[in-house]
């Protein structure tokens, strides 16, 4: 029996189909979020991978920013619970989860049974989130997916002090005008994200194992900066960008068992 989880975010749509609640059978990521063709593209891709159709899916759970807008679902569950479920499926001893999404960042505290017991999310603005990195990459004329590798070549991290995306962009432009190496600017940007998000993790109380997920977790530079900021080793699962959708698929399986 198949169940499907969709994580419809602000900047990307992700989907996972699992079989009998234990086996991941199909995964898909499309770089368009809620309000776009992203969700339907993800679903079509998932169905295509397994050569199945909607009738073959028993239950669907949707999470993420666009969860309320997607009509064909049996349940909507917050990304907080879905990430917890997805991460603890992949890393059963996870106790602290850091998720940086397109427009929010969160730190989750998980108990020994793999249940979410507390969470802290970014407040006031979306500084330190995926969108912040998108803007910076564009300003630096590099691909966001290359930020991690470029960060590794940095020899002298520069300081990016403003938390406001627009002002931070101005800082980056000033550094560029002063011929600062792009790699050092990128390392500074990553440190700035890590400083902001690590305070959420510290507030929720860090316990090992610490797991980082969300699209930003694929950026090794941010993970390195985050490890420096919190003083703990961070595990990044292979399916880091898909844990929300995986959790949703697992919840969908729970629904099918009711």
């Amino acid at each position: 029996m198949y169940t499907m989880g969709l994580d419809i975010g602000s900047t990307a749509s992700k989907g996972v189909i699992i079989e009998n609640g234990v086996r991941i059978r199909a995964t898909a990521i499309v770089s368009f979020g809620t309000g776009t063709t992203g969700p339907s593209k993800v679903v079509n891709e998932l169905f295509g991978q397994l050569n199945i159709s909607r009738e073959d899916i028993d239950k669907i759970v949707v999470t993420g920013y666009g969860r309320m807008k997607y009509a064909d679902s049996h349940k909507q569950i917050s990304e907080l619970s879905c990430h917890t479920k997805g991460v603890t499926f992949l890393v059963p001893n996870a106790k602290t989860i850091i998720d940086i999404g397109g427009q929010d960042a969160k730190a989750l505290k998980v108990n020994e049974k793999g249940k979410l017991v507390n969470f802290v999310m970014n407040d006031k603005c979306a500084a330190g989130t995926g969108r912040f990195l998108d803007v910076m990459a564009k300003t630096l004329e590099v691909n966001v997916s290359d930020l991690g590798d470029l960060d590794a070549k940095s020899t002298k991290e520069v300081s990016i002090s403003s938390t406001c995306t627009v002002f931070a962009e101005s800082e980056v432009i000033s550094h560029l005008a002063n011929d600062t190496a792009i790699e050092d600017i990128i390392a500074g940007i990553h440190a700035s994200v890590a400083k902001r998000v690590s305070s959420l993790a510290k507030r929720v109380g860090i316990q090992e194992s610490v797991v980082m997920v969300g699209g930003v977790a694929l950026n090794k530079g941010v993970v390195r900066a985050m490890e420096n900021a919190i003083g703990f080793k961070i595990i990044v699962p292979e399916l880091a960008q898909l844990t929300g959708a995986l959790g949703a698929a697992l919840y969908a399986f729970d629904e099918s068992q009711k």
Binding site: Q76, I77, S78, L80, V117, N118, M121, D123, R203
Partner: protein, 410 residues
């Protein structure tokens, strides 16, 4: 007046009447005062002076979605966007010479007590300068110690005496201790009725939608020293007790979760917030507001009155602030706490991280926070709010599920 809408209607009318009577008094040439919400109103009331409450008015304007327009007018004039949005709404109201949604007459004197907030001092000083009118200030000084010391009580009491002299000049009347005593009696009684009535929603299921509290609160703010208020709250108590007996409620849908809401609502989004909370079966049964106007003192005990006004939940140290929240969570039989990071209310909001931690340590109840503002709609995002309340609901549900399993096993 025993019908379900009895007290709500009565209280609504009573509030409208306060604004109406203020206009009538102004037309007759009587001096009108503007006051902060927890000023010792016993003083002006005993002189028979009509008082309006800008915080109450700003909340009403914000709920009717006119606050942004007035905030913009204030900002155009040069007031910082970081000022409290109630203050900006009020400055915009003055600049604009009124507004469409809720008017009140211009003041002839001002009454300011900083037991609720320190920004009110500059807010009221500013109106005093702008309109060239007298300001009566009661400075309660922040209680960094747990108890209100005698030195602080004496300092506040001295200010009561000075305020009486100022009010004699403003009203042109001599202070009458008998009238003062009578107002103290009514105010004290109304405060007790307010606290008792707002303790009744702790019943399971709660007899009312928690947000109704804010409708009733408007009257205890604006008419605490009036006899009519006694009548209104007595009717409200009867209604609530009747509903508890019949297990009826004004909450829409099933009450699945009970929470304490910290902070002033985001008035421009009040409908959305109520709808969203109802969607998840969340009712507000815990609040610190029942304590705010339940000022307990004996009649003619000025020491007690000074202490009561100084002990407002915003004017006490962190330990005591946390205790107010812990008590309200317990009284409301709450499953969790939801904190409004109110960008207007720096003192109440910026202390929240540590307060949340202390309250969590003491109760073990889950909590979440959301960003917003009491009157500036630019500081609130619906999707962010919903994710946070849904997350809190899911954590509360896990906890309930666990206790159900434990109960089943035993």
């Amino acid at each position: 007046m025993g019908s379900k809408s009895g007290s709500k209607e009565l209280i609504g009318n009573l509030l409208a009447e306060q604004y109406q009577k203020a206009f009538e008094a102004k037309a007759k040439g009587e001096p009108i005062g503007w006051s902060t919400s927890v000023f010792p109103q016993e003083l002006p009331e005993s002189f028979g002076l009509r008082i309006c409450y800008p915080e109450n008015q700003a909340a009403g304007i914000a709920a009717k979605k006119e606050s942004l327009k007035l905030c913009n007018i204030a900002e155009d004039k040069g007031y910082s966007i970081d000022l409290c949005s109630y203050a900006r709404t009020n400055f915009g109201f003055i600049e604009n010479g009124g507004c469409e949604s809720l008017n009140m007459p211009r003041p002839d004197f001002l009454l300011c007590c900083n037991n609720i907030c320190n920004q009110v001092v500059k807010w009221y000083e500013n109106i005093s300068k702008e309109l060239n009118i007298p300001l009566i200030m009661i400075d309660t000084t922040f209680n960094n110690e747990y108890e209100v010391s005698q030195a602080r009580i004496d300092y506040i009491k001295g200010q009561f005496e000075e305020a009486i002299k100022q009010l004699e000049i403003i009203s042109g009347k001599k202070f009458d201790p008998k009238k003062f005593e009578a107002v103290m009696k009514i105010s004290s009684k109304n405060g007790k009725l307010w606290k008792y009535s707002m303790s009744l929603p702790s019943a399971k299921p709660s007899p009312m939608n928690g947000f109704d509290l804010f409708n009733y609160m408007a009257v205890i703010v604006c008419a605490r020293g009036k006899k009519e208020t006694t009548n209104a709250f007595e009717i409200l108590i009867k209604e609530l007790e009747e509903r508890i007996k019949n297990e009826e409620t004004t909450f829409r849908g099933e009450e699945k979760y009970r929470i304490m809401m910290e902070g002033i609502p985001c008035w421009p989004y009040i409908g959305y917030k109520m709808k969203t909370l109802a969607k998840y079966g969340v009712n507000m049964t815990g609040s610190v507001y029942p304590d705010a106007w339940a000022l307990e003192y004996e009649v003619n005990d000025l020491d007690g009155m000074a202490k009561a006004y100084s002990s407002m939940f915003n004017n006490v140290n962190l330990d005591r602030m946390s205790e107010y929240r812990i008590d309200s969570l317990k009284l409301g039989k709450c499953d969790g706490a939801f904190y409004h990071m109110n960008r207007s209310c720096k003192l109440m909001s910026l202390i929240q991280y540590e307060m949340q931690r202390k309250v969590y340590e003491a109760t073990g109840l889950p909590y979440a926070g959301f960003d917003g503002d009491q009157a500036d709609p630019r500081c609130f995002t619906e999707a962010q709010f919903e994710t946070r309340i849904q997350g809190l609901v899911e954590v509360m549900e896990e906890k309930k599920e666990l206790s159900r399993k434990v109960m089943y096993k035993t």
